[in-house]
Symmetry: C2
């Protein structure tokens, strides 16, 4: 892959991530039985994803903050014995409602893209 094409791929991946990262964060916090801080969320995303997640840890923090400002997440800061205080996030009722909407928007867009790539909706 030449350098210019690599740049185009990075831009494309970034665009794909701009929507999907928020969706993933809501889903992880919805499923968690306890509040999670950034590093735990990053580890949960990586999980046993062998090939390396397409989402970098550093990109999560501004998204978490923005989702809290939008009322989708709540947070609580707690001291840590091993370093600076940690900000623990939980999903709000509004976050749960939005997650439901976004999951169906995601399914529809995913199926739409796959159908177009496979030529099934070619007129």
């Amino acid at each position: 892959m030449d350098v210019a094409d690599e740049g185009m791929l990075r831009k494309f991946q970034k665009e794909l991530n701009s929507g999907t990262v928020s969706l993933i964060l809501l889903a992880i916090l919805d499923r968690s039985t306890e509040p999670l801080y950034g590093y735990q969320i990053a580890k949960s995303i990586e999980g046993n994803w062998q090939e390396g997640a397409p989402v970098k840890q550093g990109t999560l923090y501004p998204v978490l903050r923005s989702m809290e400002e939008s009322g989708l997440l709540g947070s609580r800061v707690e001291p840590s014995v091993s370093g600076p205080p940690r900000k623990y996030y939980t999903i709000t009722d509004r976050g749960r409602a939005v997650l439901t909407d976004w999951m169906s928007a995601w399914s529809q867009t995913r199926d739409f893209v796959d159908a177009t790539l496979e030529g099934r909706n070619h007129a």
Copy 2:
């Protein structure tokens, strides 16, 4: 759905589309046996997609222009008997190379999001 949640959903859909529209345009032009102008591409996207495509026709034109500037598409303007001249687009060799890269980035991201939503990669 309340008004604020509708606004969040529109923003989310717009973010999802920001990557996927370029991918869809490349795929349609790659598959086409002849140059296509904007309206034909829009029709091809809608195809027999019953529920209404998540992509609006007006959003395609700036993306087509930007992809031409990046060398992924070529174009030729031709007069039309029924209105203003039409700009016909074709995919370039570079566009084909980029399409291959983007299709695998799409598959990886799609599988990653689906796995996260289903909790398969939860640590």
